[in-house]
Amino acid sequence: MPSQTVIIGSTVGLHARPASLLIKAAAAASVPVKIGRVGEAPVNAASMLSVLALGGKHGEEIEITVDDHADADRILAELVDIVATNHDA
């Protein structure tokens, strides 16, 4: 399963608009996507409540994992990009 760690780029952290963009992209992906802190149990990235409850803050490192799939690398790159971008800038 392809996975990658990424630093949260939005100054507000992983909620409001950044979270909503991530969740929509994860829900649109054709395979399950998980997100979480390295070494902790990951949560469903398509779940607004789970992502909010993660409470990811600006500058924090998190890991995104995409289930094996022909398109997995492209989906992973897209989600990593959303998390790394500062949507409040």
């Binding site: 409001a16 607004m48 409540l49 789970s50 909010l52």
Partner: protein, 546 residues
Amino acid sequence: MTVSGIGVSPGIAVGPIRVIVHLSVDEPVSATPQEVFAALNAVADDLERRAETIELEVAKEVLGAQAMIARDPALVEAIGARLTDDISYSDVRPAIAEAFAGFRDALLSLGGYFAERVADLDEIADRTLAVLSGQETTGLRLTEPSIIVAQDLTPADTAALDLNFAKALVVAKGGPTSHTAIVARGLGIPAVVGAEGVMDLADGTRVLVDGREGIVIVDPTESDISGREVREETLRARAASVEGPGRLADQTPIALMANAGNGKDAVAAAAAGAEGIGLFRTELLFLDRDDEPSVDEQVELYRAVFDAMAGRRVVLRTLDAGSDKPVPFINAIHEDNPALGVRGWRLTRSANDVLNRQLDAVAAAAQASAADVWVMAPMIDVPAEAAEFAYRARERGIRHVGVMIETPAAAILADKVLAEVDFGSLGTNDLTQYVMAADRLDSRLSDLTSSWHPAVLRTIGIAASHAKTLARPLGVCGESAANPHLAAILVGLGVTSLSMAPSALAEVRGFLAQVDRATCERVANQVITLSSAEEAEAVALDILGA
């Protein structure tokens, strides 16, 4: 009878009230897992449909986010884990409550934005149960223009209301940042929140809502209505002129600035449209300290204010310790009469090095900043003190040097005092207590400590005429600048800038925009001929209007 609360969206509305009551589901709710999921979907569908049709942007976003929560796969999973059998459960309320509680607690523990989402979660849980039990929120169908009254309004309520018929919103709960307040301001209709007791009113009762004052008048009289409508209209017309730099009706510029004590204040001042900081009180950085802040530390604190005002003027006042603002490491000696003692610039007599180091820090901070920094000393009494301060400040490269005019001596001799410096600033709070010889902190003397007193206004007039002759800018940084009528009188006396709390700026700016210089001078010339503060206020009201 009146019900009072907090006015959160200004305006006047009169009409019958429509009381909205939420039905609570306190009976067991029987359902199969499939029915629960279908109810959640129905709630989500409904929220999405409303999000599409509503025009108000804030409501659209809230509804969209709520719909996402109702469709949340993790929530569905959590409910499914508690309703594992494909049977009709006799009561699904505990399972739903537990499933929501897991997320609820997680969000609450994060605080802030996350904790606010808890209200969305609760609302979805309630609505899901209402759908399952066949109940709906009542009162949402409006057939005539009404004043909406509720315990609290949820985003779904406001979305469901036909807001064309909503004349005002009044809720028993909530605060200035509640959903009700945001929606009302977005719609431009009056709103009062925290109006405890409003739910006791019967549906259809005719009331007046004053969203500025925050009150609800039951069965208002015609004079209640017309009086408040006229006042609101006047204030609105003024608010509409609140833009750009301060000026009189004849376009005479009067700089409107704000008082600040730290960087946070300066940011708020900039947001309120202040043209600069007319009084930066540096003693706030020294109070409650056991030792003197280092030069580096001071530079940092001063920079915070200067940086918030890049390109604008900041009038910094050097340490005004003593009297009612003692600084522990400076004002160690007991004084019998501290208001008349060693305070302000007089501290050079006892703590000379502290003031020199402050000037070093101010000069360094000013040099590194993009603000137009002016520096003045408080409690300057005689020309020699003004000359000494000017020498020390200019020696350090400070370009605009000034003094506070807050003693009768400095006002009377302003021709000599202001000749030594570049500008003056009237501290009307202290000037009033010194002219009237009445302690401004003693409430028994409050009738003697009004800045409206002609004795005070004449003294200001003396200083202002000297400033005019010397072509020195003369500001006011006391509380009197924040009173629109007094502001007009001060301008009429010859004052060229006013500095006040940021919250007072809009009203003063709006008021000054409708009077010309000739009127200001006329009212000023008249009030200084009177004998009492009360007469002065009455004459000002008569000439200037409310």
